[in-house]
């Protein structure tokens, strides 16, 4: 991070818009806390969230500041390559839709581990799933916290450490007091704010080129020192094999992100689960197409002169563009636009980190505490929710601590890459095989998750992103220079699952229970039913899925 500051002093307009956003989210949280009745409300909003609502919430959970500011920045700096990320992030939802969303809803309760432990030996299966969830959520959370600190410091003029603390504090208020209900609403509000801001900015950008996107590409190219190469791949991702490797992690990783999968437990049935995915891709797809207008627009409007001001990774390109389109620095319109974008970015970060902390705390309380540590005792819902709140505060505190310790220099992109790599290499193979492969057993799940997690971490640590070698050309090991581990770690994760399974004896129980899990996940028979009065709006009771009798 360059430590570049857009707001040399406290930006008061931005602060007051922040205050409005925060006030709205706190009112939501207060309302949600009044309706907090038990574990199903805390983890799953009473399973009463509708398909469209969940679609907005998934979009709100998924479109992080990294995609809003990061991808616009990458496109601004490197042209076409930035768009490759958007494509991968979007196509990934087909993996979720076809393979997991309905099955998760039908077979799961609160966490990924519920699905694994249904047919496998409970303790090891839950421990493995919790490890996968906590690693992904942890890496992603730290990346988001550092990003939050850097952005708020740059946009509003609040010091980095204080920015991280503020973000962490609000995130914890939503989760601890409002649980999934408040988190869902915060994500919906954020999705609406972000979409609106992006649409408005896109219209302003397109207006400068007479609403002709092709003209925008030409102007952007003309403003780039890279010339022709700007509209071609290869400026940012120079190694083809690395590009493919990134693609693998993106397209399979989303299907292993615990905070996204957890959202499928909040809807009443499989039908709502699949419609929420389609709502989400409609929103997310439109959003990513518009980020290209922002990225190319920033290049066309700001030109080469904007590069330094946009900072490392071009993260500030979109806010700078907003300022320029509003009338420029120092004008009323410019300040206002900048302030609005800053507030939207802040809301964006809050919604994502809240979802992450919630999924991590569910893994700690529902999996580790209730079903591993206190397995032999009867754990009341009250105790479990209490533990979940303590876990949320602890996880939040650790993330704040690490973010501040690592400081603004912490490499965010490697943490995000790591989160997606672990999700694709550990969580995704284990989940998919548990739902579809009869012979799969506990050892296979444990080895798969361990191999996927460890190989991702090791490969990222020795990669050139983290550890430039002695000659600063390759990675720590001369022969290994992949920045993205997916092409190796995903097959290793599957291989781990397979080897662990075939090298150990068949588990009669795992295979017998497979019949039940298989029938349940495909038909919705015996699936968890929505609570009366659950969800965001009061609904009539008894809307159970037709097939669950």
């Amino acid at each position: 991070m360059s430590g570049f500051v857009l707001a040399a002093e406290l930006n008061e307009t931005a602060l007051s818009i922040f205050a409005v956003v925060i006030a709205i989210t706190l009112i939501i949280t207060y309302w949600a806390s009044k309706r907090m009745t038990g574990a199903s409300q805390f983890y799953a909003a009473g399973r009463g969230v509708t398909g469209p609502q969940n679609g907005f919430a998934i979009a709100g959970d998924y479109m992080s500041a990294a995609s809003f500011l990061g991808i616009a920045g990458l496109i601004f700096l490197f042209g076409f390559d930035g768009f490759l990320y958007s494509v991968g992030f979007l196509v990934a939802f087909l993996t979720v839709l076809f393979l997991l969303s309905e099955r998760m809803r039908n077979a799961g309760k609160f966490t990924i581990a519920d699905v694994l432990s249904f047919r496998l030996n409970e303790r090891p299966a839950r421990a493995a799933a919790a490890l996968g969830t906590l690693s992904v959520a942890g890496f992603y959370l730290i990346a988001q916290m550092v990003g939050a600190g850097v952005l708020i410091q740059a946009l509003v003029g609040i010091d980095f450490n204080l920015s991280v603390l503020i973000t962490g504090a609000f995130m914890l208020v939503y989760v601890v007091f409002g649980g999934m209900l408040a988190t869902t609403y915060v994500q919906i509000v954020k999705a609406i704010l972000l979409m609106t801001a992006t649409i408005v900015l896109s219209i302003f950008v397109l207006e400068t080129v007479g609403f002709n996107p092709v003209e925008l590409f030409n102007r952007a190219q003309a403003e780039s020192p890279a010339g022709d190469a700007y509209l071609k791949p290869g400026l940012f991702l120079s190694s083809p094999i690395d590009t493919v490797s990134l693609g693998i992690a993106l397209v399979l990783g989303t299907a292993g992100l615990p905070h996204i999968l957890m959202r499928f437990f909040t809807v009443p049935d499989a039908k709502a689960a699949r419609s929420s995915v389609v709502w989400a891709v409609a929103l997310i797809g439109a959003f990513y197409i518009m980020t290209t207008f922002l990225g190319f627009g920033a290049r066309a409007v700001l030109g080469t002169a904007g590069e330094e001001a946009a900072g490392t990774g071009g993260n500030l390109a979109a806010p700078l563009l907003a300022e320029e389109l509003g009338g420029g620095s120092g004008t009323f319109g410019g300040d206002l636009f900048l302030a609005v974008i800053a507030a939207v970015a802040f809301a964006t970060i809050l919604a994502v980190v809240a979802g992450l902390v919630l999924s991590a705390s569910a893994a700690m309380s529902h999996d580790v505490w209730s079903n591993i540590v206190r397995r032999d005792k009867e754990v009341s819902e009250k105790e479990e929710v209490y533990v979940a709140r303590i876990a949320a505060v602890s996880i939040g505190a650790i993330a704040i601590f690490v973010a501040i310790l690592g400081g603004e220099g912490l490499n965010i992109s490697f943490m995000v890459g790591l989160a997606f790599a672990v999700a694709a290499s550990a969580n995704f193979p284990a989940l998919l095989l548990a739902l579809t492969w009869r012979r799969f057993n506990t050892t296979g799940a444990v080895t798969g998750v361990l191999v996927g997690t460890i190989s991702s971490i090791v490969l990222v640590i020795i990669s050139p992103t983290v550890w430039p070698g002695a000659d600063a050309e390759g990675g720590a090991l001369g022969f290994y220079d992949l920045a993205n581990p997916g092409i190796i770690s995903v097959p290793l994760g599957f291989l781990g699952c397979w080897l662990g399974t075939v090298l150990t004896r068949q588990e009669g129980k795992a295979e017998r229970n497979f019949d039940e899990l298989y029938v349940r996940s495909e038909t919705g028979l015996g699936a968890e039913v929505a609570e009366e009065g659950g969800g965001l709006t009061q609904r009539k009771p008894g809307r159970a899925p037709a097939s669950a009798m």
């Binding site: 087909l94 249904f118 092709v214 590009t243």
Partner: protein
């Protein structure tokens, strides 16, 4: 296996249902066959289209940079086809699920419950062993998909 009280454990068990019989019932096999006949080719198609695009982006930079229309490049155009693919496949899946998969899923579920009730009436214990497993109807092997 997971106990069903409190919050611990996975989803509640339904002891009255013979899951093995349900899994082998023609209704369930019909559901699986129908769903697989869409999901498997659709998954292969979208992965192929996506990785084709990614591989071109990695290995055919100049081709991707060629202009199709004024400044619109092959790369950007192909990227847009990915968006269209996601939206179209998503919509088609929703339609097929509502029209084809859901009715079959309801039938399979009803069948499983029916068999469960019959057995409870006979007083016959649900079969627990896996010995009869060789008789899976064609197409009944569980391929990860």
């Amino acid at each position: 296996m997971a106990e069903s009280q409190g919050v611990s454990g996975g989803v509640e068990q339904n002891p009255e249902i013979d899951w093995e019989a349900a899994e082998r019932s023609p209704e369930f096999r019909a559901l699986i066959a129908k769903r697989r006949s869409f999901v498997l080719p659709a998954t292969i198609f979208f992965l192929a289209w996506y990785f084709g695009f990614i591989i071109l982006a990695g290995y055919a930079e100049d081709f991707m940079g060629e202009s199709i229309y004024q400044g619109l490049t092959v790369g950007y155009g192909l990227a847009l086809t990915q968006f269209i693919m996601v939206w179209v496949l998503g919509a088609v899946y929703l339609r097929k699920a509502d029209r084809d998969f859901d009715p079959l899923a309801r039938k399979a579920a009803a069948r499983a419950l029916e068999v469960g009730r019959e057995r409870a009436g006979d007083g016959a214990p649900p079969s627990g062993g896996r010995s009869e497993r060789g008789e899976t109807p064609p197409g009944g092997e569980e391929v990860p998909r």
